[in-house]
Symmetry: D2
Subunit: 305 residues, 4 copies
Amino acid sequence: MEKILQQIIDDNKKYAEYGNVATYIPELRKANKNDLGICIVDMNNNIYEAGNCDKKFTIQSVSKPITLALAIMDSGKDKIFSKVGMEPSGDPFNSIMKLETSKPSIPYNPMINAGAIMITSMIKGKNNEDKLNRIMSFFKKLSGNENLSINEEVYMSEKLTGDRNRAMAYLLKGEGVLTENVDEVLDLYFKQCSIEITVRDLARMGVNLASHGVDILTGKRLIDEEVSKIVKTFMVTCGMYDASGEYAINVGIPSKSGVGGGIMGTVPNKMGIGVYGPSLDEKGNSMAGIKVMQGISQQMNLSIF
Amino acid sequence: MEKILQQIIDDNKKYAEYGNVATYIPELRKANKNDLGICIVDMNNNIYEAGNCDKKFTIQSVSKPITLALAIMDSGKDKIFSKVGMEPSGDPFNSIMKLETSKPSIPYNPMINAGAIMITSMIKGKNNEDKLNRIMSFFKKLSGNENLSINEEVYMSEKLTGDRNRAMAYLLKGEGVLTENVDEVLDLYFKQCSIEITVRDLARMGVNLASHGVDILTGKRLIDEEVSKIVKTFMVTCGMYDASGEYAINVGIPSKSGVGGGIMGTVPNKMGIGVYGPSLDEKGNSMAGIKVMQGISQQMNLSIF
Amino acid sequence: MEKILQQIIDDNKKYAEYGNVATYIPELRKANKNDLGICIVDMNNNIYEAGNCDKKFTIQSVSKPITLALAIMDSGKDKIFSKVGMEPSGDPFNSIMKLETSKPSIPYNPMINAGAIMITSMIKGKNNEDKLNRIMSFFKKLSGNENLSINEEVYMSEKLTGDRNRAMAYLLKGEGVLTENVDEVLDLYFKQCSIEITVRDLARMGVNLASHGVDILTGKRLIDEEVSKIVKTFMVTCGMYDASGEYAINVGIPSKSGVGGGIMGTVPNKMGIGVYGPSLDEKGNSMAGIKVMQGISQQMNLSIF
Amino acid sequence: MEKILQQIIDDNKKYAEYGNVATYIPELRKANKNDLGICIVDMNNNIYEAGNCDKKFTIQSVSKPITLALAIMDSGKDKIFSKVGMEPSGDPFNSIMKLETSKPSIPYNPMINAGAIMITSMIKGKNNEDKLNRIMSFFKKLSGNENLSINEEVYMSEKLTGDRNRAMAYLLKGEGVLTENVDEVLDLYFKQCSIEITVRDLARMGVNLASHGVDILTGKRLIDEEVSKIVKTFMVTCGMYDASGEYAINVGIPSKSGVGGGIMGTVPNKMGIGVYGPSLDEKGNSMAGIKVMQGISQQMNLSIF
């Protein structure tokens, strides 16, 4: 198995050349463009790895489905989806336009930035610190990694350059959709995006979604079954930004990507997959990472369709 | 099993009240708003039915994934997707806007009208009659129903009132994307939409997609395996117009609806489902039909996620 | 005076280099890119000319304000503006998007193609031939040129390549805004756009608008005073496509341009101006023609602001 | 003359019924919906008044053309219009959409909020206090009213509820168009909008634009002639929000309205007009105020077209 993974890594490393590391958050520019790593964890906790599987990187948008799960468990499906829609938007992740043209003026879905910011604003807690602790605790449990922490440089960098996210939040505030303090919500959101992980963390979170929310190690339920289904559905319909449709066709595995270069995949009842390759295509997905996912899906016949 | 289906029909019949039969094609107004029927065909050709399962209705947009399969087999995936995109659009099925704002100016996906018209224009044939014969023959084989035919009244009605589809076709022609004669392409498209079917026909087409393209009766391959996967993926990401995301969450079965009131569902490796309920919600999906699909999915645990 | 005009022509001829003759109507490609001519007719019928003032070219969009005047006199201001709006759109002349997003779905104004097609559809007449005769007769009276005729090659070329205009017309038809036969309306519209003129014709039409609708030669009223004001207002707010705002600032003369290379200007109570320069900028306005208008406005202090 | 004005006030007072005072800035709700006042100042400093001509109200968007004049004189036409466009947008004053779809991502014009915020950000000054002093000083000179001051309640109310303006500013900041500190720019902008005036102040500012920038009392040049022309042009093409086109046709006087209920009109070489009527139509213009302007224009034949 690890031989197969190594082969897939070797075959697809070249695609990194055609992309670029994210530049809009200055700290992300420091990534090594040619890194490529993978980890698979199956339902029996077998772990398979290849490539740069120890590299740490920030989770970025891969955090969106996880925080969504926590928010639904906090407030219930009805409340959450009165504030954020369920439809793919066909637009880039940071698009503002549909916020204006659609009625009601709620974000199209929780995977675009506007929607993810709304979701973060609905995480429960006495204050922002408490909310952050609850988020961190949830990520730690789901990844089985007690040592998860925030990359302070990336967090500061996001905060300094997050004007477009600020614009979205103020627009939502102006529409009366977002009711919390904008600065606090964004602070929380930037921190959530700056959690530092490895492909192993992603694979383990993925397998705990594949198991419909039951921790494969402890047998404890971490996510309600229905919530885990909701999360995986969004990963198919809007997990790869405005390339989700093409990815669903070519790969067919519920997945979420982030501009840090990570991809988390989850094959229901089978396995979780973590991939890291910081060279991005123009839509913000890992260039070589997508190719690796495609290779794995085809070789192991993992498409859900 | 049929008892369960009957129960689901009985439970959801009331939802027809909240919708309306399609009015934009005058002939469709003649439908009986309260009709509701279902048919399931499993991989062993067991057939289960309940409700108005003998009612004939026109296939409308449910024809889109089928014609797409034929077109991909005719011309290859690369050619087809150079003319039609793969992404959900977040817009209504007859939206024109994205044709203008997106570059290249190709339809977002083959499930919206503009995309489906492009797909029909790429069906091979010596002339329009030959193309129609090829389309009809494909629908007959896939449904196992040699008697499929076109409802002439509906076809004439669509032709008379199809100005918005004409607008889309001319826009695509003006952009150089559509290269065939507009009148001929639309004539073919209106005929394809006017094929008359029952829920049994839908269920059988659905099960032949569930079997990855092999006819469950004859064992003959009707659709390439990869093509059948592509078709099912589009049914998840854009099969229910701009309610596809919500439907994927609540139902989780690859499905395609039409304004005639039909829904075709396909559960990979398990079954095909046909539902008919002509009372539509504002997005163009069968009001009670969606509820029936939701009931079936939950009772039988059919979500693919 | 003619010396001044000659100087302005000489100074601005070079700008033709930076543009291109229209290509989307094949016949228009035959124009000589470097032609540049001007004619001014003042209220006392003094005529001043310089450059290629005898060149014939097709009127194209410069016909829009003239046909608008006829339509308002045919049906009244209220009826006309229930079908076409009064607002500049900020979009290119052939944009379709706002037809979809705005409610009601009427064209933003009569100077964009969709609006002009609607206006032409409201010209009165027993049949299309009668309508054409009425249009031609109005253009002849307003220009004082009994010999105006249609360039058949350009007309055929527009007809062959007018798919985008067809798209707009069918969209308006589908919305129930356009009620006439689409093919007939477009035939009339393409003919109206193919009327062959010289800068002298434009200048004379312009001066008859400057005189608030009274023929400066015969003293006969050709256009109602209020209608002439309406027409001039549209020439300021939307006469130069989506460069109207900039043009109003730099030139300040009510003007209408066409992709044939013509510009008709009208300085209230003072003069009419015709300019011809077929090399267009990317918005569809005569490249050198705009510079000539700017030169005249500044030298003679003609801005209405 | 004052009899005519009184008659026009009496005739149009009823229209206030069909509108509402602005509610999105809470302080503005306190206005008396039925107030209606007018002041005209001609080039010889004759002053004519009728109705509630002593009522104080906040200037709101009527400040936009004035600040624009100052900004152009501060930095030059080229610099200013590299950051803000010249075209009417066809969209509501607080629209964000075109900021996203247009390239470059600069506001369409200085009369919509996004553009006006950019203009305010370009006013020169050592610090925000100095900038405010320069703005106030310019408004005082132009209105000949040394006592102009800021309504602190309205300013605080705008600041508290200005989230949509914040969204625009952060979007412009994120695009690199706005380079100043967002909070400081908005503070300045909210103060500029909260300047308290009467119709007399508006009429005097209007007449000093009618005189092409020369103070009609002192003979001193306050605004460059070209700048005064630019400002009046914007008042025609985008002075009345997305009703500018209709207003230009029905009134034909360069004008600017504000949600405080004010309208400033300027008839080149003739007069300045100030109108106040806080009951607004749905586009944000004074309901009765527009009718008053229409009455004046028709009775005195003031249209510039």
